[in-house]
Symmetry: C2
Amino acid sequence: MVDRPKVVVVGAGFGGVQVARSLLGAPVDVTIIDRQNYTTFQPLLYQVATSGLPAADVAYPVRGMFPRQDNVRFRYGTVVGVDWDARLVQLDGQEPLAFDHLVLAAGAGARWFGVPGAAEWAFPLYTLDEASHLRNHIVQQFEAAEVVPERIDDGVLTFVVVGGGPTGVETAGALSELVTKVFRSDYPDLDVARARVVLVEAQDSVLTALHPKSQAAAVQGLEERGVELRLGESVAEVSRSSVKLSGGEVLPAHTVVWCAGVSPNPLAETLGLPTGRGGRVTVSPDLSVVDRPGAWAIGDVAAVPDKDGMPLPQVAPVAMQSGRHVGRQIARLVTGRGTQRFRYKDKGTMATIGRRDAVADLPGGLHLTGTIGWLSWLALHLLYLSGVRNRVSVLLNWGWAYVTWDRPRLILRPQRR
Amino acid sequence: MVDRPKVVVVGAGFGGVQVARSLLGAPVDVTIIDRQNYTTFQPLLYQVATSGLPAADVAYPVRGMFPRQDNVRFRYGTVVGVDWDARLVQLDGQEPLAFDHLVLAAGAGARWFGVPGAAEWAFPLYTLDEASHLRNHIVQQFEAAEVVPERIDDGVLTFVVVGGGPTGVETAGALSELVTKVFRSDYPDLDVARARVVLVEAQDSVLTALHPKSQAAAVQGLEERGVELRLGESVAEVSRSSVKLSGGEVLPAHTVVWCAGVSPNPLAETLGLPTGRGGRVTVSPDLSVVDRPGAWAIGDVAAVPDKDGMPLPQVAPVAMQSGRHVGRQIARLVTGRGTQRFRYKDKGTMATIGRRDAVADLPGGLHLTGTIGWLSWLALHLLYLSGVRNRVSVLLNWGWAYVTWDRPRLILRPQRR
């Protein structure tokens, strides 16, 4: 058997999976490496955290994703380094893997902005385990308040969401509905009305990447749901039981959800790749890494350029399109063709506020709100979810929750922090 | 408001839930205490362990179980003792709860029979967390073998199931199908045919509580699926990577699933209740605890008597019927009536071997096998599952798995032992 070029993809998220998919039929051997054995549908992690969906609905085993593509393999492991001269990817506790092309698709985690206590006490929301931990924690706060209601004064039922982007807005809206619609009947002896959901955003509106009309609809939707907005404020400090805002206000709060910004996977620097502002890998217009032949970077870990060379936002459509692009470029190279520049197609931005309420900015200047926005949000998320089982299961869970407000509010393997 | 008699139920399993349900409309205040905030459908835990079902499908939040019963409360906590004179249940880190009637429904865990290494290295299968841990572990063994195939010689792909009762048979059958139908295509570079599933049973057949015809059908079904039977053998010792059988055979094996017997919750002895053979609480014919007025014991933790006074097996139907009985007796007492003796209605026993294959002994001497047995097993389990959402979701997952062999084989929060 002739040795075919080896493509190693680090990360099985939106970007990494698309690299592999777009190498269907190409004369290469692809290996996807990930620390988890599943791909995560990150846009719905906030629903796992707020008991809207069970964890298994937003994860799909990587080994089941390429049933008709026999040039893709999966490796469950953690990348710790790269030997660029020998062209080997080094793994924790495993033999290194040889590569001809290396695609860094390692994603991002929370960016703490140096806020004291944030990394220690705030809950990030980038992995499924983080979402499950947060769900456990939220339900435990209500159980704790039930036992000692005085703890409400201490902030046990105050939930502070930091960051007014789509994730922050969706988390705050879903939390508010969870409290008022589900927990109010779960805890009849508790004064659940005293629970607070506070959304902190440094700019003077939420969803600032969207049209002002969408911003206004989101603000209205959140306020209707009882979310307290703290606009033009940022978080100065986080402790186990309180949050201090930049204006000086101190909120007693046992739960701080951090949706304030992303920080590229530190692997970019560990591997010695060139990085620019914010630690994102610097790439050429074709998404190859500058000065590293055979290396590519995509998605949240890379400064994927728009047509003017400016870095695109770290969102799922950029990850997917950049992944597909890099797969195609590798296929071109191994068949003797040259590479092309990446061109991003803006598919719009959307965020759901709650039941029958979402905002969506679509290409062509179309702004949807309310029920129409919500239905388009539902359809799009179902469409992009991996696996038919997961789609049907999510649809079932959404339908069931819509009719009954019943939610899988389980404390599974609580881990004390 | 007049103080109504307080009923405290320790344990939210099959038995405890029935106590509360059968007190619908009774002039009492019921509190169910559990260390988990959900009830577990234990008969399907083996499917969680073998990636057949996601965890959330077999758990239901206790607070959602009594929507139309306002005399039931839930308390998330751990019982550590009882002050019988003051009639207070003592909780870990919480104020004690007063009771007039105390129902111990705390279930059972694994019985290790003093086998060296068993408690340390074998996997029990009585809680949802145990089932999730086992699923993570099983998938991780295949990932480990993929990286270093030589580990197969060391037993990394040998799965020993101890105990030939329904749980052991179901686990062995499901494991075998998982390996041959799912993992064979997941790991194309691995010689998955070298994986072994070994079922060890001290008696000379499996399912010895069932009719010989059912036993023979189960043995045949297991052998057809490649399960190696070690009948008339018991386990002498367990280590991290091997199992020693009573006959002297040593099997290299990194996974030992312990389905060999149950041990009542040690709370029975902690609380100072009278216990008999096997540590089960000694109860009168009406299921009140001997010499402890106001105390009751049901399900796996109690020696629930049949009509001849002999203890019934520790199975779900006994737990449910004894729970319903005790709820009714408490309702009788608080309305000035006397108690009645418990009468068990045998509903039969069943176990599934695999796809379209189960055995069922039904009342009236009816013995079902094969597809008919399997369909009746499916129908019965769906019927007894808590919550409509869970039923529909289980049905969906079973249907999907039936058509595709796709399974939610996720490693969620791996915990190293």
